[in-house]
């Protein structure tokens, strides 16, 4: 399958970050097409036909999400772009916004038109402050050329677009916490229902979409939903940006057509070019730190010995027993020398740090898991700790307000499911582990 590029088609064109070059390469055609020849409902219909699914992690069909938007009379509706990309291992949105900011802005205008929003926001991660400047410059250019502001292209449709930076909290990537933060409050997730489609930003109907999802709306309008649906495989249509990281020869952001075999993605020279230093692949986290980790044999082939593809369905094949999720596309590869316990501890530490502290299982459980994993990693663990970890992760999973609890529990549970022997090795041979991971000699006693 040759790499079909849609979002990153013109990435190598010099000056693509400026309005002139972007326009020359066919930019803002979707805005013209939508506003001049389509009704908002037509645009929603095209997105539905395209089969586009949310690119932020959950993979919910975007068209369906849009059609849930309540449309009460006399109240504004909002479109909010979730650019709070903070999932460990994911950096695709930053790349897109940094290199082709107008792609997001074009998508925002077309999507806002489809949803009937006259004010839209891009909520960007606080750490991406320099990207915020890039976006603001691009927005100013769009205003200057009549694509934003009052009476866009003489159609009578008004749209104002704002960029709002977060303050560096992972939890604000959860859509309701994002809305709270955007309203100027503490970024705690809201209790659902009501869902944002009914009462979101300022208690008005709101759609929250990922950067990549919104950027994909422009090509969908340009080529038509049916045409877009032909790309990809099955219900995973279109292309997806994958942030490939870890022990790969060529890490980076790749645009893939959904349905590329995982094996091809890792080993072909077109993509990641194999594992660094000619080592063997040990494990892969396929969709950002929140999704279950899979050992090499299960990521390349499903449990039924079928080839595993980079698609929503194929990666999820086998459920959580032998499958994972496409998630946000943060593809992290581990070579044979990497330590799963250490990596799991690292993830657990992240979730402990980022838990908002609102509901008890996540607030207390994430910290507890981190402490147990720390103990295991540094050679003070007990065999019973492994089962305790599994139990704690079960007590968190599904019992929390927002998905952060699940996201914290899945990596731990899956690491133990697939790499239990390595956890046991840490308990039985703590000194060997320390020597492998940190190069500390066997004679040296480590004091925690």
């Amino acid at each position: 399958m040759a790499g079909k590029k849609i979002l990153l088609e013109h990435i190598d064109v010099p000056g693509i970050n400026t309005y002139e070059v972007y326009r020359k390469m066919g930019g803002y055609r979707s805005v013209e097409k939508a506003i001049k020849s389509m009704s908002p409902d037509d645009v929603v219909e095209e997105v539905k036909k395209s089969g586009l699914r949310g690119r932020g992690g959950a993979g919910f069909p975007t068209g369906m999400k849009w059609s849930f938007l309540a449309k009460p009379e006399g109240r504004p509706r909002y479109l909010v772009c979730n650019a709070d990309e903070s999932e460990p291992g994911t950096f695709k949105d930053r790349y897109l916004m940094e290199k082709i900011p107008h792609a997001l802005i074009e998508g925002m205008i077309t999507s806002s038109y489809a949803l009937g929003a006259n004010t839209s926001y891009i909520y960007i991660r606080g750490e991406y402050f320099y990207v915020l400047r890039i976006l603001e410059k691009a927005i100013a250019e769009a205003y200057a050329n009549g694509f934003l502001g009052k009476n866009i292209l003489g159609s009578g449709y008004d749209l104002d677009l704002y960029v709002h930076p977060g303050a560096g909290a992972y939890i604000c990537g959860e859509e309701t916490a994002l809305l709270e933060s955007l309203e100027g409050k503490r970024g705690n997730p809201r209790i659902k229902p009501p869902f944002p489609a009914v009462a979101g930003l300022y208690a008005c109907p709101t759609v929250v979409n990922n950067v990549e999802t919104i950027a994909a709306v422009a090509p969908i309008v340009n080529m038509g939903g049916d045409e877009y649906a032909k790309i990809g495989v099955g219900r995973s249509t279109g292309t997806k940006l994958i942030s490939a990281g870890g022990h790969l020869n060529r890490p980076g952001v790749y645009e893939i057509e959904l349905g590329v075999p995982v094996e091809e993605f890792i080993y072909s020279d077109e993509y990641c070019g194999g594992i660094k230093n000619g080592k063997k692949l040990k494990a892969v986290v396929a969709g950002g730190s929140s999704v279950p980790i899979l050992p090499a044999n299960l990521i390349l082939k499903t449990a039924n010995n079928e080839q595993r593809l980079m698609s929503y369905e194929s990666l999820a094949d086998g459920g959580f027993v032998s499958g994972t999720m496409l998630g946000s596309g943060g593809f992290i590869a581990f070579d044979e020398d990497s330590c799963i316990v250490r990596n799991t501890w690292n993830f657990a530490r992240f979730y402990h740090h980022e838990s908002c502290g609102q509901c008890s299982p996540c607030r207390e459980g994430t910290g507890w898991m981190e402490k147990i994993l720390h103990r295991l990693e540094y050679g003070h663990g007990k065999m019973s700790d492994i089962d305790l970890l599994v139990d704690v992760s079960k007590k968190i999973e599904g019992n929390t307000i927002c998905p952060l609890g699940d996201a914290a529990a899945w990596p731990v549970a899956s690491a133990i499911r697939h790499f239990r022997d390595e956890f046991e090795w840490h308990v039985n041979e703590p000194k060997l582990c320390l020597e492998r991971n940190y190069g500390i000699s066997q004679k040296h006693e480590v004091v925690m």
């Binding site: 402990h352 502290g357 008890s360 299982p361 207390e364 910290g367 507890w368 402490k371």
Partner: protein, 335 residues
């Protein structure tokens, strides 16, 4: 008026108003099936959903859509639907999850009940007794905070806090001029009075009553006595403050009023909020009109030191008139 809707909780049917939450429907049934609640407070808008002790299983969504809900839901937040079937005490899954939540609530709780003023009337103590495990599996250091004085009458002992946010909502909704909130996040989150600025408000004392644990305590009562040695008496006064109901419970030790609190119902919620003058300054019997002894739940440790008849005296049992008088007096059935 909209029609009432039918719900089944643990096999018991009840008809409730539309918009009622599962928890409130269960409270209308009463008894065993009421899920415990540590953060929900019916008088505080927006409270609830956080502690996760009230999780229940919805085994049938509604008459129209009989699918079960995929996850356990917080009963204090989930509204009932017509024909909904809920499992609380009958579901092993719920009991298991609740046990987990209790364990989570306790891992960073100091368990200093022997020196805690709340002991004996502590929601967490009751919850752990009913739903928790006997031992702990947590082997690490618990989080600690320094004690902070919130004004001269209230002390915040953050170490005991379970972050139910009730006091935050109280400060927000009952007092005017909010100076109270949450700082930091995760297990480092703490209640703050906005950079330690003291709460100076007529109704600030209510944060003591809403606190389910001993994190916010009455400094005028601290270490004075164990609650089960005191004798609660209902009383009222005409309070000058129009927002204050003046209906309180006086906690006596001998002739002395040791503390004044709002009247808490069986779910630990005050019937009405009272002002700081009533709570902290009126500690003489002649400030109050005494109504009579406070009825305390039989299960509460507070009632254990009071004279209660387990069985009716034989002479009373034989005389229906005496029996009636007795029942009137104690407002309850004596077997």
């Amino acid at each position: 008026m909209a029609d009432k809707i039918k719900v089944t909780i643990d096999g018991q049917h009840i008809e409730v108003e539309p918009g009622t939450t599962i928890l409130n429907a269960a409270r209308q049934i009463g008894g065993e099936s009421v899920p415990p609640a540590m953060c929900y407070y019916s008088k505080l808008k927006g409270s609830g959903g956080k502690c996760r002790t009230c999780l229940v299983k919805v085994s049938k969504g509604s008459e129209k859509d009989p699918r079960p809900m995929p996850k356990l839901v917080a009963s204090c937040q989930t509204q009932v639907m017509d024909g909904m079937e809920v499992e609380n005490m009958t579901s092993p899954e719920v009991l298991e999850a609740r046990k987990g939540v209790v364990e989570m609530l306790l891992i960073n709780h100091p368990l200093d009940c022997p020196v805690c003023d709340q002991a004996g009337e502590c929601d967490l103590q009751n919850l752990a007794y009913e739903h928790g495990a006997a031992g702990t599996r947590y082997e690490f250091e618990r989080r600690k905070f320094n004690k902070i004085n919130i004004g001269d009458k209230i002390q915040l002992h953050m170490t005991r806090c379970i972050l139910c946010y009730r006091c935050v909502y109280t400060a927000d909704q009952i007092t005017d001029g909010r100076v109270h909130g949450i700082l930091n996040r995760g297990d480092k989150a703490e209640i703050s009075t906005y950079i330690a600025q003291a709460i100076d408000n007529d109704f600030s004392g209510n944060v003591i009553d809403v606190c389910p644990v001993g994190a916010l305590t009455d400094k005028t009562f601290r270490f004075k006595n164990r609650v089960w040695f005191t004798k609660p008496v209902d009383a009222h006064r005409d309070c000058e403050n129009p927002k204050c109901s003046g209906k309180v419970v006086l906690w006596y030790k001998g002739e002395e009023v040791l503390r004044v609190t709002g009247r808490k119902d069986q779910y630990g919620e005050v019937e009405s909020f009272i002002c700081n003058t009533c709570r902290f300054d009126k500690k003489k019997t002649n400030d109050w009109v005494i109504e009579g002894p406070r009825q305390i739940e039989d299960t509460s440790v507070i009632s254990s030191n009071h004279y209660e008849m387990e069985h009716m005296l034989p002479v009373v049992e034989k005389d229906p008139e005496l029996m009636e008088q007795n029942q009137k007096m104690f407002h309850k059935k004596i077997q």
